[in-house]
Symmetry: D3
Subunit: 171 residues, 6 copies
C-alpha cells in the first residue's frame, strides 16, 4: 500500500485583503476567508492523494479576530490523517499588519476531503504517516474529531465511540 509523509502535503498561501473581500466595516468577510480555507485544504489533499478531491465537510470555525483591508493573511494546511477514501486537513490562519509587522493567529479549521475518480466515485487514498510529535498529536486527535463529526451528523451513538467516551471522561 502506498504511503506518504504528512509533511509532503504541506501547503502555504499568502493573500492580501483587497477592497472586494471586505464588508462595510472594511473587514475581511468570513465567507471569503472560508473560500481561501477550502482552496488551500483542497491543494493539500491533492498533494497527499494525487487525485481529484471534493470537500466532504468543514468542522466548526470561530472568527475571533477581525482582519482588516490591506492586511495580509497567511494560510497553512497539512493532511493530519487519511481514512479509507477520505483525508482530514488542518488549516491554520494568521493575519499580519505590515505597517507594524505584528502577526496574530486567527483561526484553526479542520476539513475532510474525499478522493474521487472521473465519475465522482470515492476511491482509496494514500496512507498518510505522521513523523514528529506535533503531527502525531494531530493524527491521534483526528480520530476523535471524526467520531465527533459522525455523532453530530447522527450517524453514531456516543456508546459506539471510544474516542468520544475518552473526551467525556476527561471533562
Amino acid at each position: 500500500m502506498k504511503t506518504k509523509k504528512a509533511s509532503e502535503s504541506y501547503t502555504f498561501k499568502t493573500e492580501m485583503v483587497l477592497p472586494n473581500d471586505t464588508n462595510t466595516l472594511g473587514n475581511l468577510m468570513g465567507g471569503k476567508l472560508m473560500h481561501w480555507i477550502d482552496i488551500i485544504a483542497a491543494i493539500a489533499a491533492q498533494k497527499a492523494s494525487n487525485r481529484t478531491v471534493v470537500t466532504a465537510s468543514v468542522d466548526s470555525i470561530s472568527f475571533n479576530s477581525p482582519i482588516l483591508l490591506g492586511e495580509i493573511v497567511e494560510l497553512e494546511a497539512q493532511v493530519t490523517r487519511s481514512f479509507n477514501t477520505s483525508m482530514e486537513i488542518r488549516v491554520s490562519v494568521k493575519a499580519t499588519n505590515l505597517r507594524t509587522g505584528e502577526s496574530r493567529p486567527c483561526n484553526i479549521a479542520y476539513l475532510t476531503f474525499v478522493a474521487v475518480d472521473q465519475n465522482g466515485n470515492p476511491i482509496p487514498v494514500t496512507n498518510i504517516i505522521p513523523e514528529n510529535e506535533q503531527e502525531e498529536t494531530w493524527f491521534e486527535e483526528a480520530l476523535q474529531r471524526r467520531e465527533m463529526r459522525l455523532f453530530l451528523a447522527g450517524r453514531i451513538e456516543i456508546d459506539e465511540s471510544q474516542e468520544l467516551k475518552k473526551i467525556l471522561r476527561k471533562s
Copy 2:
C-alpha cells in the same frame, strides 16, 4: 426591550453555478458555497438586528451532494435565536437541475453573528421570538448548539452545561 419575530429575518437567495464557481470536475467548489452561505446569513442577521454584523462562527457543514455547473442553488436563512450580542442563523441549501426540474436538499449550516458598533465593539441585539412549532424547535436546539460550541472551543466543561448533559443522557 425591542423584539422581532424570527420570520422577519427570513432571507432567500437563488444562484446559478457559473464556470468560475467550479472545480476541475465541473462541480461547485465547497468554498464558494460557504461564501454564499456566509453572505445570506449576514443579511438575515442584519434584518434581525438592523446593525452591522460580523461572522463569529460557522458550525460544521457536510457536503454530501455535489452541485453541478449550470444547476441552481437556493439558499434560505433565518435567525433561530438571539443571545446577548449575538444571533444564531440557520441556512439550508437546496440544488435544482433545471432540465429535469428535480431538487435535492444539500446542506444545513448554523452560523453565529455578532452585532457591532462603528468601532467594531459588540452591542446588544433585538430579541428574536419564535412563532410556530418549527421555529420553537430551532430556538430550543440553538441553546444546545451554543453550549456545544463553547465546549468545543474549550470555554466550558460538560458539567457546566445542562444542554450537553441532556444530549449525553439521550445517547
Copy 3:
C-alpha cells in the same frame, strides 16, 4: 401540449451591494444591476421551459433610485407569458436599507428569452398559464409589449398591431 402555471417559474434572489459593484459615488452601477436582472430572468425562463435559454431582448429600464453600498437588493422574477419559442419574464427590483429596515421599489424590467436546443436553435416552449388577476394582467399586457417591441424593431407597422392601436386610442 405541455402546460405550467406561471407561478412555477417564480424566482427570488437577494444580493448585498459590495465595494466592487459600486461606482465612485458608492452607488450600485446600473450595469451590475442589469447583470443580476439577466441572471434571475434566465433562471425563471429555465424553470418554465426546462430548457437552455438565451436572452433575446430587454425592454427599457429606468433607474430612479440610487442603491447604496451595503444595501440589499431583492429581485423577483416570473414568466408572464409564453409565445412559440420565447417567453416574457417580468423582474421587479427592491432595495432595502438594513439599518432602518426601509425598502423601496427600484425597477421593473421585462426580458424575452428564447429556448434553444444543443445547437442553439429555437425550440417550442411550455405553455404558461396565469392563475390570478395579477398574472392575468401581466399576461394580457405581454402581448402589447411584444407588438411594441416588434414595432420598435421595425418589424411591424402600427396598422398591423391591434394592441398598439388600442394604446393609441386610449392616449
Copy 4:
C-alpha cells in the same frame, strides 16, 4: 454656456469573452454584455460632461446574434444629444471571430445618464453639438426616443408629443 463636439465623447472598448462571461452553451451572457454597455456609456457621458454620472435608463436592447467564448467584442459609444441635466448615449456592439477575421454587428443600445454633484443631485451638463450628417440624425432622433421613453413611463400622453405624432403619421 459650455459646449462640446459630440465626437469628443467617443469611446471604444475591446473585450475578449472569457469562461466566466459565458452561459452553459459557451455563449456570452446577456447580462455581462449589458454590464459592458453600461460602463462604456458611463465613460462617454463623463467625457462629455466632466462630471460624475449615473445611469438613468436603458432603452430596449435585442440580442440577435450569440457571441461565443474566445470571440472579441468591440463596443463603441458616443453622446448623441444633451438635455438639461441628462445625456443620451448610443452604444453599438460588434463581435469578431479572430480565427476567420469576420465581424458582425450585434446590438445598438441607447442609454440615458444624469450628471450629478457630490450629493447625487442632478446638475446641468455641457451642450453637445453634432457635426456631421450621421451625428445630426442621431441628434434629431434622440428627441423622438426621449418622448417615447416619457410615454412608455406614463409621464406624457401621445397628444403632448410632437415627435411621437410624427412617428405615428409615418407608420
Copy 5:
C-alpha cells in the same frame, strides 16, 4: 506567403478603474494593469495571425504615473513585427482624469506572442508589413529588442548580435 498590414492588428481598449483594481492608496495595482496589457496584446496578436496565441515574454515595464480610482485607462496595441512563429506587440497606456479631461501617457510595453496549433505547438505566422514611418521605426527597433531579449536570456553573446553592437557603439 500570407501578409498583412501592421495596422490591421490595431486594438484599442478603454477601462475604468474600479474599487477592486486598486491598492490601499486607491491607485490602480501594477498587476491589474499588466493583466489588461496582456489581454489587449493577445487580441492584437490574434488579429495579425488569426491563430490561438500564447504570451512568450513581456519586456520590462516602468510605472511612473500612479493611476487613480475612477480614472479611465486607454490601451492601444499593434503588432510591430512578425518573426517565424512569433510576433512582437507594442502596447501604450494612457490615463485620463474625466473631471479635468486631462490625459497623461503612463507606460509603453513590448510583448512577444507565439502562435500555436491545437496541441500548443508553434506554427508560422502571417508576415506583418509596416506602412508608415512610425511603423517602420517600430519594425526596425523590434530586431534590436529581440536580440536584447535573447542576450538577457543568455541565448546569444553580444558578438553574435549586430543590433546590440550598434546600440553599444552609439552609447
Copy 6:
C-alpha cells in the same frame, strides 16, 4: 539606520488555476500570472519596509512553460536589495501537476517597488542585508540589473555604468 535581513521579506503563495484564469487553450493567461507576481512582490516589499509600496517597474519575463487548468502555481518572493527609496524583489514561479506530483520551474521575475508616504511621495526604506551566498549573489547582481534598467530607460549611458561594462567585458 534601520536594517533587516533579506529573509525577513520572504513570501510564499500557492494558487490553483481555475477556469476564469485560462485562455481558450485551457492555459493560465500570462496577464493573470503577472497579476499574482505583482501581488506577492508587493507583499515582500511591504514586509521589508513596513510601508505602503507601489510598483515602479517589472523586468522582462519569459513564459516558457504553459501552465494548465487545475495545476497549482507556487510563487516565492524575496527582496534582493534596497536602494534609497526603492527595493528590488525577485519572484520565482513553479508549476505542479498534482496528478503526477511533478513540478517544473516556470519564470523568474524582478520587480522594483517604491515605498511611499500617505501622499504617495517616495520615502527612504529599511536597509536590506543578505546573509548567505545565494542572497549575496542576488544582492550583487541587483546593481547590474538596476543599471541595465536605467540604460534601457535611456537615463544613463553605458560609459557611466561600471556594472554594464563588466557584463559586456564578460560576453
